[in-house]
């Protein structure tokens, strides 16, 4: 597996290190299948380690604070809005001012249970702090210098007080920890009151009969569990489905710019010639990875339309229809051969994977205050 050449940014180095690490252990290190080779069970979300609630609280403020972006125009919450399923409700995410992004803003629900982050899977799911750093500092998302953000936080006494409650007296807001604080908040965003989880715990009445037959199809005839299994219903791997291109990517120069620029900074050969989203290939430069994208989890889809890496499908019925055909050109999946009633049942089951909306209110943000000059 090729690893991108180290570039001058620390970000790139960390990304490269993550890839090396990934290459060493292989994506197969993520437990996806039972020992007998059968698809792993569908299980409720496991309890993770207890979260540091002080970090979650400070992280909540920072998540909503636009001062984490270069021109103080965007917060994490701008594109990951709790009221829009922690995405932005758009097919393609807006990106930083003067840019437009070329992929869908994924929901942040159940982030803590994911194997990898980003549609091209380039970030390690065990490390949401690095995900946050990537978003805050990347040119097409929040475009901020981490050191400047750090000095901004130091200018807010409430933040310094919350920080010192976590990290001790005399500790200052500091890059990597700052991003980990937001990462801890993101870990706290989990599905709530999911009918399917209640069903798995023994409440037979939690699923409708239609959803139950959809579950049987999901595990059987439709073959969904081949990739969608485990607690988030994702194998944590990348696959090629031949999802149709979203014409808005190439027909809007602002989006095409962010796409080719992403390929350029990923060190992809021939990046100026790309006209479609190459997905994992930009990271591995391996031909067999062309057009592969990360399997998303299937929880809370009711709140997170539109779907796929480029938001081309507005409804779950459209998504199921796409799989029914066996996907698009070059797809790894086969036609499902479901009847209309079966397709409906499958959608009913998918909807049972959605819980109550997880709403976190935006806090009132504390303002900058003057400090004593020379007491830094």
């Amino acid at each position: 597996m090729n690893v991108p050449k180290p570039k001058r940014s620390a970000k790139a180095l960390v990304a490269a290190a993550a890839l090396v690490c990934w290459a060493a252990v292989g994506p197969s290190a993520i437990p996806t299948r039972a020992a007998d080779g059968a698809p792993a069970e569908l299980t409720p979300l496991p309890a993770g380690r207890p979260l540091n609630q002080d970090m979650v609280e400070l992280g909540r403020y920072l998540f909503f604070d636009p001062r984490l972006s270069g021109d103080a125009a965007l917060a994490c919450a701008t594109c990951h809005d709790p009221k829009k399923g922690w995405g932005d409700g758009q097919a393609l995410s807006r990106g930083y001012p003067a840019s437009e992004y070329f992929r869908n803003a994924p929901s942040l629900l159940n982030t803590r249970h994911r194997a990898r982050f980003m549609w091209d899977g380039r970030l390690d799911g065990a490390d949401p702090g690095t995900l946050v750093r990537d978003m805050v500092t990347e040119s097409h998302t929040m475009n901020a210098d981490g050191r400047l953000v750090q000095e901004r936080l130091k200018q807010v006494p409430e933040y310094v007080a919350m920080w010192q409650k976590i990290f001790g007296k005399g500790s200052d807001p500091y890059g990597p920890r700052m991003f980990n604080v937001v990462g801890e908040f993101i870990r706290s965003i989990e599905s709530r009151n999911v009918p399917f989880d209640r069903y798995l715990r023994g409440d037979q009445g939690a699923l409708s009969e239609e959803a139950k037959s959809g579950l049987a199809l999901f595990k059987g005839k439709a073959g969904c569990t081949q990739c969608h299994h485990g607690p988030t219903l994702s194998d944590g791997k990348l696959h090629r489905l031949g999802v149709p291109e979203n014409p808005q990517v190439w027909n809007d120069p602002l989006r095409a710019i962010t796409m080719l620029r992403h390929y350029s900074t990923s060190g992809m050969p021939g990046y100026m010639n790309a006209r479609t989203d190459v997905g994992l290939y930009a990271i591995t430069k391996n031909d067999k990875d062309m057009g592969k994208f990360l399997t998303p989890g299937l929880r809370d889809l009711r709140h997170t339309a539109p779907y796929m890496h480029n938001g081309v499908f507005g409804t779950l019925a459209e998504v199921v229809e796409f799989y029914q055909r066996g996907g698009g050109p070059g797809s790894e999946v086969r036609p499902m051969g479901l009847s209309d009633a079966e397709k409906k049942a499958l959608v009913a089951f998918l909807e049972s994977l959605s819980g109550d909306p997880v709403i976190v209110d935006a806090p009132a943000l504390p303002p900058y205050r003057p400090r004593a000059l020379g007491k830094n």
């Binding site: 001062r67 972006s69 270069g70 021109d71 103080a72 125009a73 930083y96 001012p97 003067a98 840019s99 040119s139 097409h140 475009n143 901020a144 210098d145 050191r147 400047l148 750090q150 000095e151 901004r152 130091k154 200018q155 190439w250 027909n251 809007d252 120069p253 602002l254 095409a256 710019i257 962010t258 080719l260 620029r261 350029s264 900074t265 100026m272 900058y368 205050r369 003057p370 400090r371 000059l373 020379g374 007491k375 830094n376």
Partner: protein, 392 residues
């Protein structure tokens, strides 16, 4: 800094010095006899290079001028796509109608931030061998990226800005003609901007003092002539403000008062600390940093604390406010500051001492300094900018 550019910088110095010698040789820039300092007041330093008209701009061998390159550079100078969020082209802080600065004490900086120093004029910047108040770069080609990519200035990502240029067909064609590349490159954009900036220079025919030096003895008023004498004599200005640029291009401590905004305004304080941090101060100095250490950031030598590069005195009519932090709004204030011998500072230049100028002498000096500015400013209108297009 790559060594090639460093060499270009050196070449520029040589050309500039050669120009000075030439002028000295023909005697064109000599101060009038009346202006010769009295022996008692003469400082014990080598005779400074004489004032005089600027020579042609030095052009680095690896970035020759062409009309088409200058035209491309002009567009890029005004093009906001060369900044992070499309808000801050070069011209945002270097406005032609504001003397190619931004008329603020401290430059406005990128949205969500402020800068921490005064936005310097583009006028005659082609003649400096070092740029920025602490002299961090040695060419216009190196200055442009520092500003376009600096987080409190343009905050642009070079790869992003480069890709934007590639989606503007008119630029693709122009870069191909000028630089011969299939796709625009960001380094070439900076070279084109530098070429444009080499055209923003004083026109000696429009500068009263230059006309005087070239033989028009009526070009200066009586007050300006008296000021010229003060400049060379009792004022001692010529010690640092000499040569065609009226700058020794060296670094000095004057004890300029700190700008009060750093004591009270959070946005300025944020940038103040960020600068100390990102310029690589040791932690103990960062913790206590309550001032702009100037040249120290480049040398990390405490002897250089608070030293700033001597600016040119040309075009000051159009470039208020003055000093690295914009604390003085008028030349009268500046002259008063020098007359008092500058301000308090631990390692103030020994050249700074009370001058004992009378009110008339101070007025005359200001009148003379104004004669170093063109009769009218050089205004370049923002050009029409080419649009993005879908790539084939």
């Amino acid at each position: 800094m790559n060594s090639r550019l460093a060499k270009v910088g050196l070449a520029a110095v040589v050309v500039s010095v050669a120009g000075m010698l030439l002028i000295a040789g023909v005697g064109g820039a000599q101060a009038p006899k009346a202006a010769r300092p009295a022996k008692a007041a003469a400082p014990a330093v080598p005779a400074p290079a004489p004032l005089g008209p600027l020579p042609p701009v030095p052009v680095p061998a690896d970035n020759p001028m062409s009309a088409e390159k200058v035209e491309l550079g002009k567009k890029l100078f005004f093009d906001s796509r060369l900044s992070g969020d499309g808000s801050s082209p070069c011209a945002a802080c270097h406005l032609p109608e504001q003397g190619w600065g931004d008329a603020g004490e401290i430059s406005r900086g990128y949205p969500g931030t402020t800068h921490w120093r005064n936005s310097q004029t583009i006028y005659n910047s082609a003649h400096y061998n070092k740029l920025f108040w602490e002299g961090n770069v040695t060419s216009l080609e190196a200055q442009a990226p520092a500003a376009a990519e600096g987080n409190v200035a343009g905050n642009g990502d070079p790869a992003m800005m480069e890709m934007r240029l590639r989606f503007i067909p008119e630029y693709v064609a122009a870069f191909k003609r000028v630089f011969g590349t299939e796709w625009p490159r960001i380094t070439h954009a900076y070279m084109a901007i530098a070429a444009f900036e080499r055209t923003i220079v004083s026109d000696p025919r429009k500068v009263p003092f230059d006309r005087y030096t070239m033989g028009d003895k009526t070009a200066l008023t009586a007050a300006q002539l008296r000021g010229l004498a003060v400049f060379h004599g009792k004022g001692g200005c010529i010690q640092c403000h000499h040569g065609p640029l009226a700058s020794d291009q060296k670094f000095h401590v004057l004890g300029v008062p700190e700008n009060e905004v750093f004591k009270t305004e959070p946005l300025y304080q944020i940038t103040h600390r960020w600068e100390q941090y990102q310029k690589g101060l040791a932690e103990n100095r960062y913790r206590e940093a309550g001032q702009d250490f100037g040249l120290y950031y480049q040398t990390k030598n405490p002897k250089d604390d608070g030293k700033f590069r001597t600016p040119s005195l040309r075009e000051l009519k159009y470039t208020a406010p003055y000093m690295h932090n914009g604390v003085f709004y008028t030349l009268d204030e500046v002259v008063d500051f020098y007359n008092k011998g500058g301000g308090p500072a631990a390692n103030k230049s020994p050249l700074m001492r009370p001058l004992g100028l009378s009110e008339q002498e101070r007025k005359d000096l200001v009148a003379f300094i104004e004669s170093l500015s063109m009769d009218e400013p050089l205004i370049v209108k923002p050009p029409a900018l080419p649009p993005y297009a879908v790539m084939k």
